[in-house]
């Protein structure tokens, strides 16, 4: 669907040259929701804005269904853009038009006849659940409702691709949830491809199939969302995951343990069903004391965290830890106060 090849974007300011995109290569498949996450200034907005050429790349290619859009003549580019919907963090609705007028706007631009336009507008407003607000002005709507208008407007010309630039970043968690649900639903119903950028891991967790992590103009890690959660390789990725999966445990946990080795074990999916702890205890003659445990859900797959206190011979403890790692679990050794113990490398 989208293929980005060797994309570079440089901004020249008076003082310096900023490389906002540094050789990006990316493939996005038809019908998937692809997320790009990264900290502020990573180049996410720049990247998504090159996909409809709001930003002109310095070099590189962007192929949409095999067609290189970077070399399109202005009028062909405008035609092409009609088939690429876009939604924005600050909605960017026309204040002078009602909900109906805003959704009708891209159809007027595309020259759709009035009767057809009205039919489609009604259907779209129905689709995003704003039928009772059709004649309201944006100023009379909540943030979530405004973004629904934005989505209806973006879908008006039946695009094959939807670009979302931080569409939920100025919404409360509840509205964010319902907007993400709406995006997932229209992807299924309209067989749309969605490229979204965000700085919130929660958004990636809730709707994305695949994700790329961006830092300083580069993509540093990429893969299926579930794989990334299970096996993050970059420290930035780990930090993003930690931002939504609570790794902070009640401090009292660590107050009255017996002086054994504290470890944190994380596991994803299947391993949950294996009797690992009991094999650990039996095989290595250890006492395993469960201090804390919880299971999160990532797109329907259980993601568990356990804090164990292992008591026994130090050698056996180390072997036990390696055993767990061998079973595909992530194991980290904690110091007595529950912080990651940098000194102990197993």
């Amino acid at each position: 669907m989208i293929e980005i090849k060797n994309l570079v974007k440089k901004y020249k300011t008076r003082q310096e040259e900023i490389t906002a995109l540094n050789n990006i290569n990316l493939k996005i498949n038809e019908g998937e929701i692809f997320g790009i996450i990264g900290p502020s200034g990573a180049g996410k907005s720049t990247l998504i804005r090159t996909v409809n050429l709001l930003e002109k790349p310095s070099s590189g290619e962007i192929l949409i269904n095999g067609e290189n859009i970077t070399s399109l003549a202005p009028d062909l580019l405008r035609k092409r853009r009609q088939k690429i919907g876009m939604i924005f963090q600050h909605f960017n609705l026309l204040n002078s038009r009602t909900v109906r007028g805003n959704v009708s706007f891209p159809l007027e631009i595309a020259g759709v006849a009035k009767a057809e336009r009205e039919k489609r507008v009604d259907r779209l407003i129905e689709l995003v659940g704003l039928a009772d607000r059709a004649d309201h002005y944006p100023a009379q709507l909540s943030g979530g409702q405004k973004q629904r208008v934005g989505i209806a407007r973006a879908l008006a010309n039946e695009p094959e691709l939807l670009l979302s630039d931080e569409a939920t970043s100025s919404l409360d968690p509840e509205s964010t949830g319902s907007i993400l649900e709406l995006l997932a639903r229209i992807r299924d119903e309209m067989k749309l491809t969605i490229l979204l950028i965000t700085h919130e891991m929660e958004v990636i967790k809730q709707v994305c199939d695949r994700v790329a992590v961006m830092e300083k103009g580069r993509i540093i890690e990429e893969g299926k969302v579930i794989d990334l959660f299970a096996n993050p390789r970059q420290s930035l990725t780990r930090r993003f995951i930690k931002s939504i999966i609570d790794f902070n445990f009640p401090e009292e946990l660590f107050k009255d343990h017996n002086g054994g080795e504290l470890i944190r074990v994380s596991f994803l999916g299947k391993s949950t069903h294996q009797p690992l702890i009991s094999s650990l205890v039996k095989t290595f003659e250890l006492d395993a004391n469960i201090l804390y445990g919880k299971i999160d859900d990532i797109q329907g797959i259980p993601f568990g965290t356990l804090i164990l206190e292992l008591e026994g011979e130090y050698n056996q403890v180390l072997k036990g830890i390696n055993y767990l790692k061998g079973k595909g679990l992530t194991v980290e050794v904690l110091s007595d106060d529950g912080a990651l113990d940098q000194a102990v490398q197993v």
Binding site: N52, L54, L77, R78, K79, R80, R81, Q82, I84, M86, F88, H90, N92, L93, L94, N95, S96, R97, F105, P106, E108, I109, A110, Y137, P138, A139, R153, N157, L163
Partner: protein, 223 residues
């Protein structure tokens, strides 16, 4: 008091004619100023750096024209354009002749007001339209114009009020209207009552125009 009013009522015909002439001068010069100033303001705004038809040389020239036009004091403009007025109208005195300097003064004023109003339109909204594949012309009419209409209306209202003031000045050099009456009767013949009456009428006129402008602007303002 009643005595004063009866004495003043002898000049009712004169006053009505004065109001008429003022409205004629202001109305026509405003119309011309809008017809020329509106496109001038649009062109200035959209050729600015980063806007939909960025063109720095054109922008700089238009910006300069507006600035120069705005910096010439009306009283000087009025005298300076007399030759031009003669060419256009055939004479340099009378209400029709006054329209020329009035319109000339108001054109750059409207231009600047429109330019300012357009700069208030959110760049995000313009960008959204571009992302939908809108042409520059579609953006001008469907985005810039409709989004800034309330501000443009208020700006034109302000221009109209300024023109009422200027038209009184134009009266001083034989332009007719309420200003002319105030000077000829009030100042030169010491008829203070008439002077005060014209001032009161001008105040009411300004209030009316402002009220109408606010009403109209509010009608289009949905922010």
């Amino acid at each position: 008091m009643t005595e004063l009013l009866t004495r003043l009522s002898r000049y009712n015909q004169l006053m009505l004619a004065g109001i008429n002439e003022t409205l004629y001068m202001v109305g026509f010069s405003l119309l011309i100023a809008v017809i020329i100033g509106l496109p001038l303001g649009f062109l200035t705004a959209i050729t600015r750096k980063g806007h939909i038809m960025e063109n720095t040389p054109v922008h700089k020239v238009l910006d300069l024209v507006i600035n120069i036009g705005r910096s010439v004091p009306f009283i000087i403009l009025m005298v300076a354009v007399i030759p031009l007025t003669r060419v256009i109208v055939g004479t340099s005195i009378g209400t029709t002749a006054a329209i020329v300097p009035l319109a000339l003064a108001a054109i750059p004023f409207v231009g600047r007001i429109v330019d300012n109003a357009l700069q208030e339109v959110s760049p995000g909204v313009i960008e959204a339209a571009q992302a939908m594949g809108a042409t520059p012309l579609q953006i001008v009419f469907k985005v810039l114009f409709s989004e800034s209409l309330p501000a443009i209306i208020l700006g034109i209202t302000l221009t109209a009020i300024n023109l009422i003031g200027y038209s009184a000045m134009a009266g001083a050099i034989g332009g007719g209207g309420l200003g002319d009456i105030a000077i000829r009767y009030g100042y030169q013949r010491f008829k203070v009552g008439i002077m005060i009456e014209t001032v009161i009428i001008l105040v009411i006129l300004v209030q009316l125009v402002q009220w109408l402008g606010n009403l109209l602007a509010k009608r289009f303002d949905h922010r």
